[in-house]
């Protein structure tokens, strides 16, 4: 898999800016937003330039109770091949429920929801990850999500949950430091304890994103500037390991190209600072 460098989430709204930004080593695309065989022209041009493109899935729901949908897995596999991606990523989350296992109507969340950190949920997640790994042509990395909710009766910390997942499946980790900050504010969880518990070697890359705090809750909006506390979690991570890749995510309320460049520079600054110590 190897080195990725510093990258940015590719979105159609900022395609021109990304093409002009200096030193963008790689990009990540939301897998569900692309049609295999009909990639957007600006993305084709990046590929032609040799920019690494990593597909990032949001709808498999590997933390859900059901086996992952084969069609969704095949689509992700085909996209990875078309992009010649070194890996693909998804989330540790559930996105739908109901259906045959409960004999009730299917419900779609439309977003990522936290799985309970229980033995049951870990067993199911591991089984689902193994199914996904059999279909995908490249390594899979899974991301820790941001949450407002805490399940009652949890049996493991998030770090322990992920460490066991890695141990049992060999899956890689996509560590989102903004989500660690979110869960610090919203659930009182310590990012440093998480980073102590997860195997550093398994980290494939890192997400960085902006958000805001309101009424004591952190909202991981991806529509606000990256704040110091999030960069501090990145620094904490970099003090333990040099991540193979770091990626800035911005989904809405896009700044000018200069604003994006400044955020990438701030991220690189944290990486360099960690190397110096």
């Amino acid at each position: 898999m190897g080195h990725l460098g510093t990258g940015i989430g590719w979105r159609p709204e900022i395609a021109d800016d990304i093409a002009r930004l200096p030193d963008v080593d790689w990009v990540e695309v939301v897998a569900e937003n692309l049609c295999p065989g009909r990639l957007p022209d600006p993305l084709e041009r990046l590929l032609a330039r040799g920019t690494t493109v990593v597909p990032h899935g949001v709808s498999l729901g590997l933390g859900g109770a059901e086996r992952p949908d084969p069609a969704g897995l095949v689509a992700l596999a085909e996209l990875a091949e078309e992009l010649d991606a070194p890996l693909v990523s998804e989330h540790i989350a559930f996105v739908r429920a109901g259906g045959p296992l409960t004999a009730s109507p299917r419900l779609e969340a439309g977003h990522l929801l936290p799985v309970p950190r229980t033995r049951d949920a870990l067993d199911v997640l591991c089984a689902n990850v193994r199914i996904a790994q059999q279909v995908l042509p490249v390594p899979l990395a899974l991301e820790n999500i941001a949450a407002y909710l805490t399940w009652p009766g949890e049996e493991l910390t998030e770090g322990r949950f992920l460490a066991e997942l890695v141990e049992r499946t060999g899956v890689r980790l996509l560590v989102d430091v903004a989500n660690l900050h979110t869960n610090h504010v919203n659930r009182g969880e310590d990012p440093a304890a998480f980073l102590d518990e997860v195997p550093a070697w398994a980290i494939a890359y890192v997400h960085v994103a902006g958000g805001f705090e309101k009424d004591g809750l952190w909202h991981d909006s991806h529509a606000h500037p990256v704040t110091r506390p999030v960069l501090d979690v990145l620094a904490e991570l970099c003090s333990r390991v040099t991540p193979p890749g770091v990626l800035l995510e911005r989904d809405d309320d896009f700044p000018e190209a200069g604003g994006l460049a400044a955020e990438l520079t701030a991220i690189r600054g944290v990486l360099h600072e960690a190397h110096r110590v």
């Binding site: 429920a97 439309g110 009652p152």
Partner: protein, 157 residues
């Protein structure tokens, strides 16, 4: 509750089916509370459930207004409240496009919004969207003109 025995796929632990069923019930209970107006499951903080519920419906409204911008344009400042009201007990089960046409149908059946001009535009949009047509994906010329005219007149106010 008894289920027919199922063959365990190669490589899966034999008791995983029981774990899947337990997890399915827990996740369905939570998701029903979040998107289908179901009761709050035991042990969850009701305040946080409310925050999560609002976040999900806000995201849904946002995506619906992106894949089908016309109803949001027509309803303008009333879109969010009307959509939130609609979505509170109506989970999404299909695509966002289908969600948009279902939402508009729900409004029209309830006689909302009150003003006839906007109801007429929504009716025209709903009919265009739910009638098979030769060139899918394009906003028909007549409706497009109506919406832009409405936008202009609102901006001029």
């Amino acid at each position: 509750m008894s289920e027919p025995p199922r063959r365990v796929p190669h490589g899966e632990e034999p008791d995983i089916d029981a774990a899947r069923r337990r997890l399915a019930h827990a996740q369905t209970e939570l998701l029903s509370a979040l998107v289908a107006g179901g009761p709050t499951p035991d042990g969850f903080d009701p305040g946080r459930l409310l925050v999560q519920r609002r976040a999900l419906v806000a995201k849904r409204a946002d995506v619906v207004s992106k894949v089908a911008p016309e109803p949001a344009d027509i309803l303008a400042g009333d879109f969010r409240d009307l959509f939130f009201d609609y979505a509170r007990t109506r989970p999404m089960t299909d695509s966002y496009r289908r969600d948009a046409t279902d939402f508009v149908r729900h409004l029209l059946d309830a006689g909302r919004p009150r003003d006839a001009e906007r109801r007429e535009l929504l009716t025209a949009w709903w009919e265009e969207r739910t009638t098979p047509r030769p060139a899918p994906g394009r906003t028909p010329v007549r409706l497009g003109r109506l919406v832009s005219a409405l936008r202009t007149s609102r901006a001029a106010r």
